[in-house]
């Protein structure tokens, strides 16, 4: 319960801060776009062009900030890796892999082998990691 309230507090804090900045930048971009329209109607096309660029850059920036805040919130997760257990018959070599179950440990004896009736043994418990590291070619 406590963790949930803390998490929501953290999320709210980040969102409020980001939201303020996003709103300010968004308001400025709208003002710039309105000025651009006004300048275009008056016939000052160069000024309208500048204001359009400024307006769109500001809008892009606010969208980027919003994306950043969303990413920060989704980062607040502890990922539980998938753990696999390898079960082996040491007599006939029959092997099977299943997901880890509580109580599993390496060299724990399990049920009889499907092929030779000898007891199966857990020979490995591991997680598989997909390497995200960059190759630096050095």
């Amino acid at each position: 319960m406590m963790t949930e309230s803390n998490q929501s507090a953290t999320t709210a804090r980040i969102s409020t801060y980001m939201l303020t900045i996003v709103l300010i930048v968004l308001a400025l971009s709208i003002v710039a776009l309105l000025f651009a329209v006004n300048a275009f109607l008056v016939g000052n096309e160069v000024v309208a062009g500048y204001l359009l660029i400024i307006g769109f850059i500001a809008m892009g920036l606010s969208a980027w900030l919003l994306f950043q805040s969303r990413r920060r919130v989704t980062n607040l997760k502890i990922e539980a890796p998938k753990i696999m257990t390898t079960i082996e018959c040491l007599k006939c070599g029959f092997k099977s892999v299943r997901e880890f179950q509580r109580g599993d440990y390496v060299y724990k004896e399990l049920d009889k082998c499907q092929k030779c009736d000898d007891k199966m043994v857990i020979t490995a418990i591991y997680k598989e990691v997909k390497e995200k590291e960059k190759s630096y070619n050095v």
Partner: protein, 367 residues
């Protein structure tokens, strides 16, 4: 008033803005940089707080699930998270190893007793696992508090250098915190961790042979390898336990009156960036981490009888060492055994007695 003679209004505004920006950055550049750093540290601090709270939650849930306590263990867990250990005074370093050993023994006993009170329905294996879970939660709590301390200090003093130092080490601190967060579940469920590479090799060598207990919290099996008699030592599993390999090696050497031809130690070793996880390397010396007590005891015994010591390490980073064991590390066991056999054939004679020690946490590794 025109800033640029003959320029239109837009050029004037841009010119004025650029001069203003230049002045602002010249006068307040460092302060702006500091605020950016503070924001970065703050974001990491929130993440650390979340991880710490998650650790606490997992610990309490595991105690409730396994230990079936009559009362809510939350208050006791909170007290436990604040535990500290004072290392012995080192002004006169003579005898400090045994003083430290004593302090660590007292700490271990105290923590185990606390866990027994918190989780009365748990057996010895579960008590060890819960102790490890609590230690990981303690580590997370400590990391959070230290980072928060420097963050607040930096904000209070507005010192760029305090904030800068914190911001510079933050990626490493976060990596360690994430590793401990990952370790929490591994300890709670009794899954082998990367640090268990040494015990895993020892377990493979001793599997099927009779084992006996040796002090403290270790097991030894007598196994014939390549015509030699090998005493294989590891911490007793499958509970989370590193044992005291120093005492175990001393005991086995004394039992054999020092007639040991070689001691080979297998441990997880820290890899450098660019090195692969699960790579195997060979060297000389007592391969064992921790506070140094066990290394001292092993070296002391080896020196007494002039016994050579060799080491085989399995490379991994700090994150891999405390989180569930990676497949590369699990797969490296056969490579280690191959290297071990080479060392045995090259460094000892047939009929010799040798000691092989699998150093590390035996969580999730039986024998």
């Amino acid at each position: 008033m025109a800033f640029v003679p003959g320029g239109d209004i837009i050029s004037q505004i841009i010119y004025a803005a650029s001069i203003l920006l230049f002045v602002v950055f010249m006068l307040y550049g460092q302060r702006i940089q500091m605020y950016v750093m503070i924001r970065e540290v703050e974001a990491s601090l929130y993440k650390l707080k979340f991880i710490k709270e998650e650790g606490r939650k997992i610990t309490i849930e595991t105690i409730k699930e396994i230990g079936k306590p009559q009362t809510d263990p939350a208050a006791r867990v909170d007290r436990y998270l604040e535990y500290f250990t004072i290392s012995p005074q080192s002004m006169d370093p003579a005898g400090i190893v045994y003083k430290l050993d004593h302090i660590l023994d007292v700490r271990d006993t105290r923590l185990k007793d606390e866990v027994k009170i918190m989780a009365p329905a748990s057996d010895d294996v579960q008590i060890n696992n819960l102790e490890n879970t609590l230690e990981a939660a303690m580590a997370l709590n400590f990391i959070y508090k230290v980072v928060r301390h420097y963050y607040i200090q930096g904000k209070k003093t507005l010192s760029l250098y305090v904030i800068m130092q914190l911001q510079m080490i933050l990626p490493l601190v976060m990596k360690e915190a994430e590793a401990y967060a990952s370790a929490l579940k591994a300890f709670a469920y009794g899954q082998p961790i990367g640090d268990g590479a040494g015990p895993l090799v020892a377990a493979k060598l001793m599997h099927g042979y009779e084992t006996r207990k040796v002090p403290k919290d270790c097991v030894v099996a007598t196994v014939p390898i390549e015509g030699r008699t090998a005493f294989i030592i590891k911490a007793e599993g499958p509970g989370g336990n590193v044992g005291k390999p120093g005492d175990a090696v001393q005991a086995v050497i004394e039992e054999n009156e020092g007639k040991i031809a070689n001691v080979i130690m297998i441990d997880a070793g820290l890899k450098l960036e660019g090195e692969g996880v699960g790579e195997v390397a060979e060297g000389i010396g007592a391969a064992i981490g921790g506070p140094g007590v066990d290394q001292y005891k092993i070296e002391d015994s080896l020196l007494k009888y002039k016994i050579p010591v060799n080491a085989v390490i399995i490379k991994e980073d700090i994150g891999d060492a405390v989180s569930p064991m990676r497949k590369e590390i699990s797969d490296s066991v056969d490579k280690v055994i191959e290297r071990l056999k080479n060392v045995i054939l090259e460094r000892t004679k047939e009929g010799d007695k040798i000691i092989i020690v699998g150093v590390g946490n035996s969580i999730g590794v039986g024998q």
